[in-house]
């Protein structure tokens, strides 16, 4: 697996591991993407989902499987994943743009409305993004969830933003 060599998954690997939502599902609105393809002993995501869309079962080393029809894309699972491996993507946001939500445990936090550099799984800047929402309430237990709008064609690629420095906020 390429992941073990490079440290990040490719979309092909994700699709092959049946972790990736279908294009038909993406057309219906926001949906979760669980980028967790190794059998590690972990299952908080399963409990996090109110809609029972994430299935791990026993043993807890099973790979989480998303039922894309039950998933509403609510994003409750994002901060619950100890591996920070869950994202939500909304490909229906506007004609040209879509939304990606991801966990972001760094300071300073981005500011709503600001322009940020969106990075892919390799940490390379691939587009700019606009910060739509920054959640950091108590239930997230210090794992803030950031939502940015980016060009639609980058939605399968972008998984975060370039870390900000204090001077970026001024």
């Amino acid at each position: 697996m390429v992941l073990r060599k490079t440290g990040y998954l490719t979309k092909e690997e994700l699709v092959n591991s049946k972790c990736y939502p279908s294009e038909e599902r993406f057309k219906k609105g926001p949906v979760a993407i669980i980028e967790c393809t190794e059998e590690i002993p972990c299952n908080p995501c399963e409990l996090a989902c109110k809609f029972k869309a994430i299935k791990i079962g026993k043993p807890i080393t099973n790979i989480p499987i998303l039922d894309e029809n039950l998933c509403t894309g609510c994003g409750l699972c994002i901060a619950k994943c100890p591996g920070l491996a869950i994202f939500t993507v909304d490909k229906t946001y506007s004609d040209k743009e879509g939304l990606i939500s991801f966990p972001y445990e760094y300071l300073p936090l981005p500011v709503t409305g600001s322009i940020v550099k969106a990075v892919n799984r390799e940490g390379k800047v691939v587009s700019s993004g606009k910060v739509i929402k920054v959640l950091n309430n108590e239930s997230l237990d210090r794992t803030p969830v950031v939502t940015i709008a980016i060009p639609k064609e980058k939605l399968d690629e972008v998984r975060g933003i370039k870390r900000l420095e204090s001077k970026d906020l001024k």
Binding site: E105, Y106, L107, L109, R142, P144
Partner: protein
Amino acid sequence: MNMRIDNHIILGKDERKEMVEIKVDGKTIQAKKGEMIIAALIANGIRINRYTVKKKEPRGIFCGIGQCTDCIMTVNGKPNVRTCITPVKDGMIVDTQYGVGRKE
């Protein structure tokens, strides 16, 4: 260069405000009350704790939890004090240790 982590996404703001003074090789530096000596040194840009006996090579923190003794210094005249697990006290005298303790 500030080496202190004043704010942290998980740990929050550092609420320890009270400062004490310690003397390191004769120079007074500021330390947070109750912090480990090594933390005060790092915060003040000091990273040599001692020089070895034979080759007189510098040594700094290595394990950080009191096991390896690389960070030992002379504290209030007593050599071989592990600075990573010994808290500062106001007025403490900390000296770079040469060899096993004697200054040559």
